[in-house]
Symmetry: C2
Subunit: 368 residues, 2 copies
């Protein structure tokens, strides 16, 4: 194997693929980048067996071949070079020589044949969506994903294709996020569950604009092929394996309030300040007429925050874990939000007030 | 105690004084801010018994008095308020009420009498220096301060007043930094040792311009009084307690090189990349004519970096811990540096090439 490539192109490609490299594993080859020189292109690939990222760039290939070198070394190295051209040459079985400017290095490499092959998807189901829509959906749903491993399926986001729309659902037992986005096209209706970690790595590398991308799935894998970049991820499961989320949403709203999002965010942040020695940030919401009063108490003192709200009718007093509300207010984009209450023992429903987007966040009150 | 102060002024003052508050100590009062309302001013003070920072701001004092409240709470709180006016009122023995806008909080406070009083310096020795000069001296000297506690005096920087100049010296057994700055004035010659940690906290809060500041010392303390802000720190010792650094500097240079600082920095960074499993970053410097070749070797491979240099005569091969050179190149400001060698078993001396500043960094080679 011998090829010459452009420093900047190599740097960009390496820094993308290494997002899928394993960290601290018992199988060291998963901590490596596979390089494949073929047909005047260089293909770089990393995988931790859950997520695979493959990227292809132009290269002047002098001799075709493959090599596997440590991702940690290569990503640090490309960050620190400013050379225009870099030459990689395989020397013998397990050494790569790198020439850059007046300098050179030799690095131990591993057997490329032991590197796991990516899954191929034959006759997949698929949907097409704007890149920015998928990105937004994943970021907003991931907020509600479970942080512990007690129910592995809840580490995932359900992506459900239905009625030409894509729904993203995540829940962790105390809250649920449901986001709906328009699809450009879909082959059929289906639902797949993917870990939030893989989805977040993928959407961070997707274009931030309205480019239409195609998401394909078959059996236990999902693939997004952008041409020069391919993402493949293992599914956690299908819709049947996930919680039946439709049962959770009730529509028996007894009262609602409309409140300035930033104002509520700042108030909860301040009211949470006294809970520094506790794990639960209990905040009491006291809604009376057009006043919302938040109160928090701890051994260190108490804080009372007041704000004006729009409110339809019934007064209510209800306790929440402030962190759960903050998480939602952090990703919601609107200036005003609406909170629907069904009683102080029932979940509350947070939505953007102007319905500018199809976003719904359900949060359980605390029983104090 | 009752006073009203401006939100922004309070925020600025709190965020400065809390730099001296203790973290995780057995004496919780050291994790607090002392507030003292008197004569239309509010004085805030924190101390960890080594460093004390005192700041005074304007306040509308309705009732004079003192209170002590947790620094962690107060610093987070002031970061999260945007209110113009804040009212603090002491309620009974151990509660402070805080009014901000439509909101209010009550926070437990401690007995102000138990808060340690700052040291007063009577008839001190002193020197006067430009703020920017002191700042630069401390930042450059601190690089060479010992990171472990085996010899506590080496956690400090020696500040020596001599011949109308201030010398800053730090060393850790394998390298030494010596910086000399012009003084504006000095009462007499003396030398004091202060922990790098305290000095760095202080200089970060000093004006970045040429304001002349007065540094006073007496017995075991040093004080800088900027009017609204006072820093007091305990001395680690005096000149006699510190290493006799003048003995270390020899002037038997056998050869020297002049090299581009950034070029050398980048090369050492790359040559260190293969040492990720080792603690010592051994880099071999091979100087031959106008060529400097750096090489590094590890179980993962090897790297060779070449660069052009200016060089007077004798060739030399010498091994360094790359990190020690990087630390110096990081703070030195010049485009070119000069390295003087006395032989491959003797310390090398790094100085800025154009002598634009009086800076000297001595580093021991490694015996491989």
């Amino acid at each position: 194997m011998k090829f010459i490539c452009q420093g900047q192109e190599l740097t960009d490609a390496v820094l993308k693929v290494v997002k899928a490299a394993a960290v601290r594993t018992t199988n060291p080859i998963l901590e490596c980048v596979k390089l494949k020189a073929e047909d005047n292109t260089l293909t770089l690939m990393c995988t931790d067996l859950e997520l695979t990222i493959i990227k292809t760039i132009k290269a002047d290939v002098k001799m075709e071949g493959e090599a596997v070198i440590p991702a940690k070394f290569l990503s640090e190295f490309v960050r620190k070079i400013s050379t225009e051209q870099i030459t990689f040459t395989k020397q013998g079985e397990n050494l790569i020589e790198i020439l850059y400017g007046e300098n050179h290095g030799q690095i131990q490499c591993q057997n490329a044949e032991e590197f796991p092959e990516p899954k191929e998807l034959t006759e997949p189901e698929s949907f097409q969506i704007k890149s920015s829509s998928l990105r937004d959906l994943v970021i907003k749903a991931s907020v509600a994903v479970a942080q512990d491993d007690s129910r592995p399926m809840l580490r995932g986001v359900l992506l459900e294709v239905k009625d030409k729309k894509l729904k993203g659902v995540a829940l962790d037992g105390v809250r649920m996020a449901l986001i709906t986005k328009e699809l450009v096209d879909a082959t059929q209706e289906f639902g797949i569950v993917i870990t939030a970690r893989s989805l977040l790595e993928i959407v961070k590398l997707l274009p931030e604009d309205d480019t239409v991308i195609k998401v394909q799935t078959k059996q236990n894998h999902m693939m997004i092929d952008l041409g020069n970049t391919i993402f493949i991820t293992r599914l956690l499961g299908h819709k049947n394996d996930f919680v039946n989320y439709e049962q959770i949403i009730q529509s028996t709203t007894k009262t609602y309030i409309v409140v300035d999002r930033q104002r509520l965010y700042d108030s909860i942040e301040r009211a949470s300040l006294l809970n520094w020695t506790e794990r639960n940030h209990i905040i009491k919401f006291n809604i009376k007429g057009t006043n919302l009063t938040l109160t928090s108490n701890s051994e260190h003192g108490n804080i009372t925050e007041n704000m004006q709200i729009e409110h339809d009718q019934n007064d209510i007093v209800i306790d929440f874990n402030g962190r759960l509300i903050i998480d939602c207010l952090h990703v919601i984009g609107d200036q005003f939000i609406k909170i629907n209450f069904c009683g102080n023992m029932s979940p509350a429903l947070i939505v953007p007030n102007n319905n500018s987007e199809d976003y719904l966040y359900l949060v359980l009150p605390m029983r104090v």
